[in-house]
Subunit: 240 residues, 2 copies
DNA sequence: CGAATTGTTGATTGAGTTCAATGCAGGTGG
DNA sequence: CCACCTGCATTGAACTCAATCAACAATTCG
């Protein structure tokens, strides 16, 4: 890995792509400086593991670029992906002993990492940060609960349609936060197997649904990882 | 309803059954007094609705006694229960505009209700409360994510076994928090239909699984709402 | 007691899994 | 440059578990 990645510029927060959306958004200059001192940036390659399920929770992190997956194993070794993390999302378990799920980079990624002990202390001393983290956690809980509905009640077709819609929304110009502009051409950061693990399906079912949606003209599949949404409204209907 | 339920004793927090476990646990006397002033206790009958999905979020609450369900509807009208709330659990969506799910009492219940605006203000002025709420929300997020695994990957048998194990743990002497002592005789606060909605199954499948577990000697069913766990270890194996 | 609600049981169906074969792209080395 | 491998993805066929449809039993309630 390039050793330059580990150098610490005077204050990397200032140029941070997620500066206005992540939990550090409300901090003032002095606080940012302090936070900057206890954190470091780390670049991850697709496939790199950042946190291991069950490990002692020593790290927390903020996603700056890229997409990561949170996952856990079933007793029989299959994987269930618990969620995906996009830029400005928070990773890890503050104020807890154990990391409750594994975190792995799906694409090349850039994260802002803290020792949990440092972060916990900082958070307790800076209520504005803690408040942001609370808001984010509440939002994430809502999102996760809505996803339960998907897993518990939806058909394979509905699951994949919903997945594609969500992807197109969260993958849109990674930079912008405000406008929820969805894009129609997307490069999936997940393999078929990983999509299956997100949706609680098998790879074969995912593949068949892709094929069917393509045959029906809802989407086009220029290559394995590329999807073009041709009829968004119709796709949204299927996701109902 | 008994009007005595609405009287406000000088400080009902002092005698509160969940005083040491709920988010108010770390507050000092003065803070408790203030909180006491903005909240009120409300008794609910089984079946009463406390919050409606999609409504403006005007209330938040703490569960003191009883079991409530959080739920949402699918487009085609079926219900998915997103989670259950037990004593000391927190309900509602602080710092948010909309209530993201409905809340209904499954048993008679006692809750401690706040206007969201009052609560939000109080929370922002009292970081210790906000911290407790954050810890609780993080724990709830972890629990919810583990439940996703259940919905996404488990068979009907595994789902029901896991449900019974969890119930027996969370229903145990509602008073105690520390010791995780599970009980072997429980009165279910849910109908068959509601269990089905929690587990993402149909009522028939739930019924069949109950019958089978009874036939296999894992449990006994003295009545519709009563379950006696006869072989906990074996039941836990099924929940794997 | 009869009506209504809730739960159980049986028969059938079907969506999604499993097992198995084939296709396809990106390397690697002869 | 092409043959060959390897890992992912697609397609097909058989099977399975849970959903659905339907009848019936048990409780609850007026």
């Amino acid at each position: 890995m390039d050793p330059a990645e580990f150098q610490r510029p005077l204050n990397f927060c200032q140029a941070c792509a997620v500066r206005n959306r992540a939990i550090c958004a409300d901090l003032d200059e002095g606080e940012i400086d302090l936070l900057n001192r206890i954190g470091r940036r780390q670049r991850l390659r697709a496939g790199d593991q950042l946190l291991w399920e069950g490990d002692e929770a020593v790290l927390v992190a903020n996603v700056v670029e890229g997409v990561l997956k949170l996952s856990t194993q079933t007793a029989d070794g299959r994987e269930q992906i618990l969620g995906l993390a996009y830029p400005s999302d928070f990773l890890g378990r503050p104020f807890g002993q154990l990391t409750p799920y594994g975190v792995e980079a799906l694409t090349d990624a850039l994260v802002c990492v803290f020792q949990r002990s440092d972060f916990d202390r900082f958070a307790r001393e800076h209520p504005r940060l803690e408040h942001k983290l609370l808001e984010r956690t509440l939002t994430e809980l809502d999102r996760t609960r809505r996803w339960m509905l998907l897993l518990g009640r939806m058909s394979a077709e509905q699951k994949l349609a919903a997945f594609l819609i969500e992807m197109s929304e969260r993958l849109s110009p990674a930079t912008c936060a405000a406008e929820p502009g969805a894009i129609d051409t997307l490069e999936l950061p997940l393999s078929r197997q990983q999509i299956a693990d997100v949706l609680g399906l098998t790879i074969e079912t995912v593949s068949r649904q892709f094929t069917r949606m393509k045959a029906e003209g809802l989407i086009d599949l220029p290559s394995r990882r590329d999807v073009r949404i041709l009829q968004r409204a119709a796709l949204e209907d299927r996701a109902a």
